[in-house]
Structure formats: C-alpha cells, structure tokens
C-alpha cells in the first residue's frame, strides 16, 4: 500500500512518525494506519479499539490490538513504553480529556492528537444564526446521538496544552479532506475543520 492509498487524515499522522518506532494507536479502528506504518515505516505498532469488528479486522491483518478505550485502558501501560501514542479525533469523545492527554505523554515520548475544531466558522454560524447545535461535514451527528461530549476549539486545546506544560512540536490545521492549511492558530481556529498536534512533555 502506497501513501496515496492511505486515508488523507491518516496520511498527515503517518508523516509525523519516525521509521522504526514503537507506536500505540488509541482508537485504531480497522488498523489501516498501523498496518501502513508496519509495512512502510517498519513500525512496531499496537492498537486499542472499542468495536469487536475493528478488533477482528486488526487481528486478521496480523496486528495486535486490545479491546478497550482511552478512558479506561491507558492507565495500565507502563511509562514511556512507546515512542508515539496516537489519538485521532477521539479527545472530544472521552470522559476525562485532560487525564487522557496526560496519559498519552506518560506512555509515549510523543503524542499525535487530532481534533475536530468546534471553533470553525461554520460551526459558530450554525449556533449563532440557526440557534442549533451544529451538524457539519466534520461534525455530522446531531446533539443527541453524537459521541462528542467535551467540545473544544483549537485555541481551547492550546490553552490546556500550555497549562500542562506540554510542548507543541508541530501544529497542522487542515480541512476535512486532509488538506494542510498554512495559517496561525488564531486564523486556524476560524477556518480549519480539524487540527493535528504533535506533542511532547
């Protein structure tokens, strides 16, 4: 599988990973990213995935994945046992985002976190003019069935990161289709559907 076959948002993450490293992908789905990293970057990968179908697909690919979730299963991993821990579009869906964020950087030397940006202008205007919780391409579920329970904007996450003394090694705001947007955090907070953070404690 070449890079062009990889889903665009996963491609952005894959670009952050040094070849030959140990990677934990939290919420690894069907294992597409881990499989690609193993085949193309000589990565020793592990996954955590909540769905049985995801676990089965990963195992069939020869990957190692533990059924579980970010809130409950990170605590059991030893300190610094991975080079990277990936948490893709999941931070807003966990019960304890701050604890999860800190766990990522306890377990891994670096963390790759991507979030949907609730500060994006379409989201803001939906709330402003329609007076309703936004349903957009990046946030496609209604308020009563969304998994997102801790909404945050790009600036919100920057605030938390800085309050915890975490270093942002890379900040990659991007559109829903994975196109990189070259802009400051302030502008990105208005215009980016999503953002990727490469973090280090």
């Amino acid at each position: 599988m070449t890079m062009t076959n990889l889903r665009p948002d996963l491609k952005l993450i894959a670009n952050m990973i040094e070849p030959g490293s140990r990677v934990l992908d939290v919420g690894c789905g069907d294992g597409e990213l881990l499989e690609w990293l193993g085949a193309n970057r000589d990565v020793d990968g592990r996954g955590i995935e909540i769905s049985q179908s995801g676990v089965n697909e990963c195992v069939a690919k020869g990957l190692f994945v533990v059924q579980g979730d970010a809130d409950n299963d990170l605590a059991e991993y030893p300190d610094q046992c991975f080079d990277y821990v990936i948490l893709s579009k999941t931070l807003q869906a966990v019960y304890h985002p701050r604890e999860v964020l800190l766990s990522l950087l306890r377990i891994g030397r670096k963390a790759v976190v991507t979030i949907p940006n609730f500060g994006q202008w379409k989201v803001r205007s939906s709330l402003m003019f329609r007076g309703r919780m936004p349903v957009t391409k990046a946030l496609e579920k209604t308020w009563y069935n969304t998994d997102n329970i801790h909404f945050c904007t790009i600036l919100d996450l920057f605030d938390l990161i800085e309050a915890e003394g975490i270093t942002v090694k890379e900040f990659v705001p991007h559109s829903a289709d994975g196109t990189r947007l070259q802009m400051s955090r302030g502008r990105a907070n208005w215009f980016a559907d999503q953002a990727l953070f490469l973090l280090e404690k």
Binding site: R46, V59, A60, V65, Q67, E76
Partner: protein, 378 residues
C-alpha cells in the same frame, strides 16, 4: 480407568519429575492424541491444553462415553485448527485419569493405586510433563499453544516457563490466579467428594463402591458455575420435568434439577474422584504473580517474541473479563504483543467451547497471521 485406546508415552524414567511441592515422581505415563503430520521443518505443531475435566480426545471419540471429541467444532481437517496443515497434540494432564499418571494409577513403590499418597501437583507441573512429551515427540517449538479455562492457565504457565518454545499463544476464558470465590467453589466440590462414605480416605480403588454420589454433587455445583444465569433461565426457566405440577416432594420436579443430576451421574462414569481433588487443588494453587512479588508482568518477561491472543466472554462470571484483562495488562507491560477482546456471548464460562462466531472470526485471523509469520503456507 486407563482406556484401551489412545497413545501413551512413559516419561521421567531415568530422571524423575521434580514437582513444585518438592516431591519426585517417576515414571510418568502420559496419554495423548495427535492429529495431522509434523512437517520436515518441525514448525507446524500446535499443543491444545484441555480444561479441568477435559481430556486428550479433542477431535476423536471418547473411549468411555463414545461421544465425539470436545472441540471437533474447531479442530479437524479443513477446520479453524486444520489438521491437514498442522500437527496437533493434546495430552491428558498430570493427575487426571485417562492414561496419564494420577491418583488412580499404580504406585510402583507399593503396587497399589496411589490414592491420596499421590503428591499434590500444580498447573506448572502439568506443563512440565507436556514439555517432556513434546521432547519425546521431537517437537522443539510450537507454532501455537491454545487452551481455555484450565487450559488457558497452562498456556500462561507455558509463557512463564518455556517462552522460548512458543511462537504464538491463545488463552481463552481464563485467569492467572484463583480468586477466593474460585477456591470456595472448588472446596465445596472437594468436601462433597470427601463426605461420601465411599471415598474411604481416598482408598476406594480396592472396594466395590466409589464416591459417585459425592463426585456427582461436586460436578453439579461446578456445572452451575460454567453457565450464566441467563443461559439457565433460557434453557430451563421454571419448566417442570415430565409432569404437570410440582409433586410436593424431593424428586427432580424441575428440568434444571433433572439436567444437573444427569450431568453429575454421567460424569462419574468417566472421571476419577481423586483426580478431581488433585486437579481442582492445582487450579487453586495457581497464582503466577505470587512467584514474582505480585508483579504478573515479571512472569512474562521472556515472552516478548510470542504472539498472544486473550479472549474473555461477557457472561463468564467464573473467569470474568477483569481477570483476563489482568493477563493482558501484564503481557502489555512485559512488552509481549497481545490482542484481546471481550466477546459478547450468552452461555457463561462454557462459551469458549460453544458456537460463538465472533470468537471463531478472531481466532481465524490470529491463527492465519501466526502461520504466516511462522513461514507456513496459508
């Protein structure tokens, strides 16, 4: 109780088996079955470990009951554990009663059955005997080792004791220690056997009667722990057994009573009461972390090259998900590659023996990847 059929090896003749208790045992007979052929590279062997009252007849008819093997659903030509591709070995555990040395066998020192002079054994002792059997069969390393329940405990002891002989390992519905509740249920079973006057302090072999009643009650109790409340409700509810109304007596009015009595009474035909005492004791003594100051991960430090798979079942309250996850966390902490899932199944602990398609799906994927990384053709 030694059956007329099945293969048998005599081991530990020159050098006795040193047990965890410190006792020595020599010789040790092992009843076993094999299926398929060991390839020229000797790379396709799979060891299947049976549960408490299981046996080596995993994919062939039981010599006493005549019933088909206990895992024919998964083991056989063209099946998930394909005996056309793999050399499958399953042996009767130490202390049991179907060809392997146990309390019902003749003690060479006295010329009489061991009875309760048989030394107390552990799960690790069972594993030592399996390792010696593999030596005897010319199998140096295993493509996979698989077991559920007590079979899973053996898999864990293999990971702790002989990791260098393993390529992959599957542990189903199991635990790395017996909890107080596990021990409590086993104690009820043992007390039931020992309360039977027919037990005669374990020396019933030279008498006409054996402690059938006690062993049967032990089996009835244990059987309840293998099923979920839902499974019992669904299977029996409050249905009456071949009658229109309750009889105001102590007959088996309810179907569930009749079912349990049947389970108990058929069990005594194929199992030795003293073996039941010894094997339940071995399970109770299991505490792999206990040998490492409570750190289970330390037990698995040598296994970082072994591909592992652990599966638990939602309705299993005997070895529940929490106990299985302890194993997974320890493997992870030891850097052992492991996959884990808690599979939705209604049948209780026995789910690992029953038709649970999601389990098959996961096992098939795991076994295929294990074979591929072992250099075996798909």
């Amino acid at each position: 109780m030694t059956p007329a059929t099945g293969q048998r090896a005599t081991l530990f003749e020159a050098e006795p088996l040193k047990l965890d208790s410190g006792a020595l045992l020599s010789p040790v007979n092992v009843g076993f079955e094999t299926y398929g052929t060991l390839n020229a590279e000797r790379s396709n062997a799979i060891l299947i470990c049976h549960a408490l009252t299981g046996d080596q007849f995993v994919a062939s008819d039981h010599p006493i009951t005549g019933k088909p093997g206990w895992w024919t659903r998964l083991v056989g030509p063209g099946k998930l554990i394909d005996t056309d591709k793999y050399f499958v070995v399953c042996s009767n555990v130490l202390g049991s009663c179907l060809g392997t040395t146990g309390p019902s066998e003749t003690n060479p020192a006295t010329g009489k059955p061991y009875g309760i002079d048989f030394p107390v054994i552990t799960i690790r002792d069972m594993v030592r005997v399996q390792a010696a059997l593999l030596d005897h069969l010319g199998v140096e390393t295993l493509m996979a080792i698989i077991g559920g329940s007590m079979g899973g405990m053996q898999v864990l002891e293999w990971l702790a004791t002989y990791p260098e002989r393993l390529h992959s390992a599957v542990a189903l519905a199991t635990a790395a220690r017996h909890t107080a509740q596990n021990i409590a249920f086993h104690e009820v079973g043992r007390q039931s056997v020992m309360a039977d006057p027919g037990w005669r302090e374990g020396r019933y072999y030279d008498h006409d009667s054996k402690p059938d009643k006690g062993l049967s009650v032990a089996r009835m109790t244990a059987h309840i722990t293998y099923l979920s409340e839902d499974a019992l409700t669904q299977k029996f509810g409050r249905n009456l057994q071949a009658r229109e109304a309750v009889t105001f007596g102590f007959d088996a009015d309810f179907q569930v009573e009749s079912y349990l009595r049947h389970q108990g009474s058929t069990f005594v035909d194929r199992f030795d009461a003293n073996s039941y005492l010894y094997i339940t004791r071995a399970m109770d003594y299991l505490d792999i972390a206990g040998r490492h100051d409570g750190r289970l991960a330390d037990a698995f430090k040598g296994a970082s090259h072994v591909r592992c798979c652990v599966i638990s079942f939602t309705s299993d309250w005997l070895y529940p998900t929490a106990e299985n996850k302890r194993i997974v966390h320890a493997l992870n902490a030891a850097g052992v590659p492991v996959s884990f899932a808690e599979i939705e199944a209604p049948h209780g602990h026995d789910s690992f023996l029953l038709d649970v398609p999601e389990m098959d799906h996961m096992l098939r994927g795991f076994m295929t990847a294990a074979a591929r990384t072992r250099g075996l053709a798909p």
